[in-house]
């Protein structure tokens, strides 16, 4: 993920353990540790931004959500108003 103009710097503190792990992983890929860290962070950021449209539901609510989806279809009484609303023409 090379960027045209690398003009910005990122300083970050990390634990000895994180430092060791990042160096090890960077060595596996044969890239400098700073490049590894930036590429990994950039990939994670892209993921977050591309998922913006996804609605994320916390784990503790997930079972309830899936149980609701399994329930049989029903008429929603509050939506009757929408069904009865006078329709717009379509162009």
């Amino acid at each position: 993920m090379a960027t045209a103009h690398k003009t910005q710097r990122l300083h970050a503190r990390l634990s000895p353990e994180q430092d060791r792990r990042l160096r090890e992983a960077a060595a596996v890929l044969g890239v400098p540790m700073s490049q590894f860290a930036v590429d990994a962070a950039d990939a994670a950021a892209r993921q977050v931004l591309s998922d913006e449209r996804l609605l994320r539901v916390p784990q503790e609510a997930a079972d309830e959500l899936f149980a609701w989806l399994d329930e049989p279809a029903r008429v929603v009484p509050e939506m009757r108003r929408l069904v009865d609303a006078r329709r717009f023409e379509q162009a």
């Binding site: 279809a73 939506m79 929408l82 023409e89």
Partner: protein, 166 residues
């Protein structure tokens, strides 16, 4: 008064619903989302060449947060649920209180139902900008989703189909 796909000939600049986030998106980004990036379909309510309202639909999904253990095993526990996002719906401020929002939402729901004749979608998700918008959708039976900061509400497509007799 009729509904049609947003196109280049529409004059979007005169539209104003009073909520800056919605107006700004409609003025500056709706055209791009429609044509260049293809990320959303926007429909406009038109009366005598004036835009009185709009809504936009996009493909979306609902994903449950996985536990770190499941992620590390590479076995997500929950599938992503396919959804359509009703991202924005707004009526011009000069026509508030005329029931147009309700009719435009019904239009959006019918369009989603028609789309699901061809593509499987389980949920309709609406993005509510504030509490009054959330209350609007709740009046029509949408359920609040527990989630990440934004207020989003859900309706099951199978209930929409049942309710609308589709």
């Amino acid at each position: 008064m009729h509904v049609e796909r947003l196109n280049r000939r529409h004059d979007r600049s005169s539209f104003g619903c009073g909520k800056e986030e919605l107006d700004s998106w409609f003025h500056h980004h709706a055209g791009q989302a429609e044509s260049r990036s293809g990320s959303a379909r926007t429909y406009v309510l038109v009366h005598e060449n004036r835009i009185m309202g709009f809504y936009s639909l996009a493909a979306s999904g609902v994903a449950a947060d996985e536990t770190p253990e499941d992620l590390l095993r590479g076995q997500p526990r929950y599938p992503v649920i396919p959804a359509v996002l009703l991202a924005r719906l707004a009526i011009d401020a000069s026509h508030h209180g005329e029931g147009l929002g309700e009719r435009l939402m019904a239009d959006a729901v019918r369009r989603v139902i028609a789309a699901t004749d061809h593509v499987a979608v389980v949920l309709l998700v609406v993005d509510a900008l504030d509490d009054s918008a959330a209350a609007f959708y709740e009046r029509y039976g949408f359920r609040r989703a527990r989630g990440d900061g934004r207020t989003r509400l859900l309706a099951r497509v199978k209930d929409l189909r049942q309710t609308f007799g589709a």
